[in-house]
Amino acid sequence: MYDGTLAETIRIAGHGGDTINAYFARPLGPGPVPGVVVIHHGPGWDEGSKEITRRFAVHGYAAICPHLYHRWGPDASPDDAAAAARAAGGVPDEQFLGDAAGSIAYLRSLTYANSKVGTIGYCSGGRQSFLAACSLPVDAAVDCYGACVVNPPPPGIPFHLEPCGHLADRLSCPLLGLFGEEDKMPAPAETAQLAAILEGHHKTYEFHTYPGAGHSFFATDRPSYRPEAANDGWNRVFDWFGRYLSS
């Protein structure tokens, strides 16, 4: 069976009409294919995030990873852009949502799209995936260890970071949550709180908390990588998107 993908940097219209970079990968072939917005983690638009984007393409999705720190360094290395964004207090939610909306619009505009789009995010991107699912029209969402959804960040933290769990009633799609039992942000108590909130609003969701895993257990290039949790997590992600994003 033929197996081919195309992966490249593209430019899309983001928040406020700004042109931003995005990494885009898709399977070669006629489609129709579903779309996935990959929301990178705090360290930025890095190799690991692009690898995840390509993985979705290999599995039959048109995937896009917008450079959320583009405005702080479109031509800078991802770590320099991340440092500049951090020094500026991070990405405001409104700006993220504009960039996410642009990414979704791009995916739905593709002639070979099936018009279904999901979001997945890691670390700070996990919270943003939840935020997108509560604010934009998406068909499925995955939150990988996103903190500050229910709990506020520690006091004195100079970040644009407000809890967004109160938006749960607006969740527009099924939500999959993948967490580590040893994580402290979000700790199991926080994700249990979020589950209770979703339950209260009769939302479709599934949360899995892996023993022996902490934060960033999907990150293959970090000591936090936990292959058992990551492999099971990937299976659940593809099952989730297969269930809700198929034509």
Binding site: H41, P43, W72, D75, A76, P78, A84, A87, I157, M185
Partner: protein, 103 residues
Amino acid sequence: MCTYVTESVPVSGSAKGPEGWFSLSRATVYFDHPFHAPLEHSLNIDFADPTDPTAATASIDSIASTRRVAVELSAASARALAGAILAALDAGEASVGGTASRS
């Protein structure tokens, strides 16, 4: 976990990056995920060029590459470095017969 712990401190001096020397007015110190060091968390220090437009939100057309010197240290080595800095300052200031400029 992402700690989001971040300290920003005014500094006076210079740093040298890939594009040469630049003046400093601020350092950002944080304890969070590193980009490169093989650690779950590290003590990171960014010395960024304050005149670089990437230091603040700017229109996309006017943004240049970030000029920055960055380090990512294990917690133990960061504490050792902090101790070494203070020890060198104490000895150096004593040898020049007073307190060096703190501006």
